[in-house]
Subunit: 368 residues, 2 copies
């Protein structure tokens, strides 16, 4: 089967680029001498997880209980769920722990910490630290941290932070600085716990931009990152990668032509691409995605999807589009703004290796 034979829209994943992205991040972490725990929130695929942990300690990160259950069922035994848990969700977590998965939870809430500590199953949790994003987490130095540590007691596994505000950075220097904030917040929190005679085995940090740009990771025990596996136009804008490192594209068909206004219409709209507009805040606004040719070459100039309806993407370029080539039915590849939100609409990857032949088909696990 070849790209030309696939029903559109669908996800195309280039295995060569994927493997290159995986190995360059692993090599970076080896140079730092720190363990790497890939985040599967983007890929949500056991096949990709196996490739990502090859040569690593074996642990993975996930963002939902459904992902945790899926990966546990696929044989992964060391899983960190890096989104704050609620008391009602502890039963599903406990069921996984009881069947042999080393599942590590996350909390920044004293009531939830108490529920974790009181649970009959041997649950364990990290305390979420706010390293500057102001989303979840407690301050790295302060009473709230010690209250949480004492509430968790022997269930305390350590601390975790995510410098999500790295996405607001724009220069490599921004990322170096934010990575150091992330590191120092986590390490300070770890020492604050230890100073209170509380255990802090795990000191976990990470985001793709900070993982790429961290100068030092002293005191950190593990790094997490997820979107680096695929990369996307936004990550290229914030210096995590270049556009040639994008492993994921959406295969689409031309379904309409408007030469009079230099526009084509694709069967990839808001559902196939997501409504993510993250590149709008960068110096290269890609609309809802860039339109490349079937070989993923940017041969149509800066052709981009300027409007996304439910099933229609309307694309235009700065120069006249080659309408003799772009007939109804012509296949193109759309490079997404944000791989995580785009991939979430699909249940599988069609895998290529540079060419147009489908060499594998890998499943994805969506939902909660």
């Amino acid at each position: 089967m070849r790209l030309q034979d696939l029903a559109t829209p669908c996800l195309v994943l280039d295995r060569g680029i994927l493997d290159r992205n995986l190995s360059s991040m692993s090599a970076r972490m080896r140079r730092h001498g720190v363990a790497f725990r890939p985040h599967l929130k983007t890929a949500k695929s056991a096949e990709i997880a196996r490739r990502a942990i090859s040569g690593e300690a074996g642990g993975i990160t996930v963002s939902t209980l459904a992902e945790a259950e899926y990966f546990a069922a696929c044989g992964f035994r060391d899983i960190t769920l890096a989104v704050g848990i609620t008391p009602a969700k502890l039963e599903r977590a406990a069921a996984m722990v009881t069947s042999g998965t080393r599942l590590t939870l996350l909390t920044d809430d004293p009531d939830t910490a108490a529920a974790i500590a009181a649970h009959p199953a041997p649950l364990r949790a990290l305390i979420e630290i706010d390293s500057g994003e102001c989303r979840g987490g407690v301050a790295p130095d302060g009473g709230a941290l010690r209250v949480l540590g004492r509430a968790l007691g022997s269930r305390l596994a350590g601390v975790l932070t995510h410098a999500g505000h790295s996405y607001a950075g724009r220069t490599p220097e921004d990322m170096v600085r934010i990575a150091e904030h992330e590191r120092s917040a986590a390490v300070r929190a770890a020492w604050a716990l230890r100073a209170a005679w509380l255990p802090c085995e795990v000191v976990s940090v990470g985001s793709t931009p900070t993982a790429c740009h961290a100068r030092k990771l002293d005191g950190v025990t593990e790094v997490r990152a997820g979107v680096y596996m695929f990369n996307d136009l936004f990550q290229a804008e914030i210096h995590s990668c270049t556009r040639s490192d994008l492993a994921l594209t959406v295969l689409a068909s031309v379904i309409g032509r408007r030469p009079g206004t230099n526009r084509i219409i694709l069967d990839a709209g808001a559902l196939a691409l997501s409504r993510d507009r993250s590149t709008a805040a960068t110096s290269h606004d890609a609309g809802f995605g860039l339109v490349w040719d079937l070989a993923a070459e940017p041969r149509y100039g800066n052709c981009r999807i300027e409007a996304a309806y439910q099933e229609h993407g309307v694309a235009t370029g700065d120069a006249p589009l080659p309408f003799d080539e772009l007939r109804v039915g012509t296949r193109v590849r759309v490079a997404p703004n944000h791989a995580c939100t785009t991939a979430a609409a699909y249940d599988r990857y069609f895998v290529v290796d540079g060419g147009d032949e489908i060499v594998e088909e890998w499943e994805r696990k969506n939902g909660w």
Copy 2:
């Protein structure tokens, strides 16, 4: 089972509101004396489709081949696929036609029209007319229309237009005017075909706003609409409904609290709600959705999701939030900007009927 027992995030559908929305649209179409062909692009559910066509002629509209195949497998025999088809997609369409489904396709492309006409299976198609949206479709009066009509020949079923630009209207008067443009474009196109001795059985128009506001539908044979079933915050802003007509919400749990900045964090982020920001262009920007209480009452003031990360929604309000009530684990209902994009992340509806008891569970069919 009750709302309190469900894993979050998930879709909650209020059957009473759904049925009221369905019957008021059906009644409106009966008053116009025109056939109604509900669009299932929003609901993507056989159970909802059966309720929507109850008392109607029986036909439905869909937006993807996967929907068409799903509904055909569920026993629906009269289906219009209202997104432009490509030659490569004709095989899947032909397989449905051959197994007894009256599937009507859509095209505005002469090559595709020729492929439809030449296909061994008895395919039929509508010509897409541009009634002012400038997305798909040919002009209602002009040579392109006749070229398409002649290319389709005996496979020509009629004309179809969608006034998607009604979403840019803001007043009921805008909608009345756009509905009349939509009607007159379709009817003019139909007469242009008939004047050229071409058949034009179907004259199909529709969008939720124009279906709600059309004053007359003379010459139209059928109306399509989809999001009216659920409604959403955007439709309330553009006068298709009021906020009390929203049948669909996302059930979410509080996973974090930041009283210092008057913010709560929910387990409903960009994947659970979509990144749709359509209300940003209206006078009541709802962020990524409004946060209502478990009974879907807007008891937290104008509490809205101001930031949506992959699995985190950060909400705030104009007044202090009741943090004594909003503990980690508290369930809330999020009213979405756009029901179509939000529902697309889920594979089922948990159905309530005014209260908190789950009275039914209905499946959804996503994908392409």
